[in-house]
């Protein structure tokens, strides 16, 4: 007999699995735990588009590449400038990174205008728990203590 159900959402991480194992050790059966991993907004599967990049918003790739190039040039020229190679190398790296980042942001925001994965914490798994009235407090506590993003009790 099911008394009530807890609905909760989690990020995909180790705490979720710890929460589940805690629930099981407190007597919640496997059949009474239902997990729905969500598909978060992701890139398509195309060889020549954004999936090449290290992630959905790989902002750093051009930046790091240009930072390295500009640092080498800055350090080289720095040997004959007043501030010397280290300052000019760092200045070069900074300018290169900012330039690369600007190019990438321009591509992402203006050229692609593609919807991206939202920043910050987002729900990646829905977890539903069947339990009896007497276990309600315990279950709710376990869910919150393992960083559930939201919990709702349905009766």
């Amino acid at each position: 007999m099911i008394d009530l159900q807890f609905f909760s959402t989690f990020e995909s991480n180790a705490f979720l699995e710890i929460a589940i194992s805690q629930l099981e050790s407190k007597g919640i059966k496997k059949e009474n735990i239902f997990a729905v991993p969500l598909d978060n907004r992701t890139e398509g599967r195309k060889i020549l588009d954004s999936t090449h990049h290290s992630d959905g918003t790989s902002l750093s790739d051009i930046g790091m590449a240009l930072a390295t190039a500009f640092a080498v040039i800055g350090a080289s020229v720095g040997f004959i400038l007043t501030w010397g190679p280290i300052y000019w190398g760092l200045i070069g790296a900074f300018i290169g990174f900012v330039l690369g980042l600007t190019i990438r942001l321009y591509i992402e925001k203006v050229v692609k205008k593609k919807k991206r994965v939202l920043k910050g914490k987002h729900s990646e798994v829905i977890l539903i728990i069947d339990c009896e009235e007497t276990q309600a407090e315990l279950v709710e506590g376990i869910l919150w203590n393992h960083f559930a993003l939201g919990v709702a009790k349905v009766k």
């Binding site: 099911i2 496997k30 990049h53 790091m64 390295t68 190398g89 349905v154």
Partner: protein
């Protein structure tokens, strides 16, 4: 001890978690990999987890570059001093530099394109792979890592970011070489002088040829740690999703159509 013993039943696998690291095939931009090969031969291949040829090409670059004075010639060229650039190059070493340098760029580009295709097939095949490794000398497992933290450690000291994301083959190699470059370039002495405001002394203490190896080292270490963190996070989520689907989706589970209560 592993949590999965490979029985070689898949045609392709997309990842392998071992004591020494997380070897992962994922989609990459071949131009970015080729760029790292151009910045420093060997880095492109190390990004692809092809460590042995990465090491060989890297060491080759250090030896031949220093002997042929390629970095020195670059410095003079950037300064507009073409005569000195010509003067400083050692023709006894120079010509062998060119074909290997170009091969490295081409080979890493070509390999990336191949691995992208392999990834798509391996991803579709979706075979199980090892995700946990416990041994006498190390422990490694899939977990979520913060890519920003990985970058910050790499910028403090190249190689530390790789330790954070558990890529030991890159970490040890990068840490070893960054010490060599720091020592021969006198970069840390120069930094000490800069803190004291002695800019001129900082410039004169530096060895330009060796200094020029450092920027790409920092750039590579930061980029590699950042990408590795993000990609193993994605892998973690995939593996967890599969686990939850297998274990916690009982057919007898019924939703309660009640009302939300406090």
């Amino acid at each position: 001890m592993n949590n999965y013993t490979n029985d070689n039943t898949a045609k392709r696998y997309k990842a392998h978690v071992s004591i020494l690291g997380i070897t992962q095939i994922h989609l990459r931009n071949p131009y970015i990999i080729a760029w790292w090969s151009a910045a420093f031969p060997g880095f492109g291949h190390m990004l692809l987890s092809k460590y042995l040829r990465g090491y060989v090409l890297f060491i080759w670059e250090v030896v031949v570059n220093i002997k042929a004075h390629v970095n020195h010639a670059m410095i003079y060229s950037f300064q507009g001093n073409i005569d000195m650039a010509k003067e400083v190059l050692d023709t006894r070493w120079l010509l062998m530099y060119i074909p290997v340098y170009l091969f490295t760029i081409w080979d890493s580009y070509r390999t990336t394109v191949d691995l992208n295709k392999i990834y798509l097939l391996a991803d579709a095949e979706d075979h199980r792979f090892n995700t946990f490794s416990l041994g006498a000398v190390e422990i490694n497992y899939l977990d979520k890592r913060n890519p920003v933290i990985a970058v910050i450690w790499s910028l403090f000291m190249p190689g530390l970011g790789q330790l954070y994301v558990n890529r030991i083959m890159t970490a040890f190699f990068v840490i070893f070489w960054v010490v060599v470059f720091f020592y021969y370039s006198h970069a840390q002495e120069a930094v000490s002088f800069l803190f004291l405001g002695k800019v001129h002394q900082a410039t004169t203490v530096l060895n330009p040829e060796w200094l020029l190896f450092l920027p790409s080292h920092y750039g590579f270490a930061a980029f590699d740690a950042y990408t590795s963190a993000i990609e193993s996070n994605k892998l973690y989520k995939e593996v967890q999703t599969k686990f939850l689907k297998n274990k916690y989706q009982s057919a007898s589970f019924r939703l309660l159509k009640g009302q939300k209560v406090k």
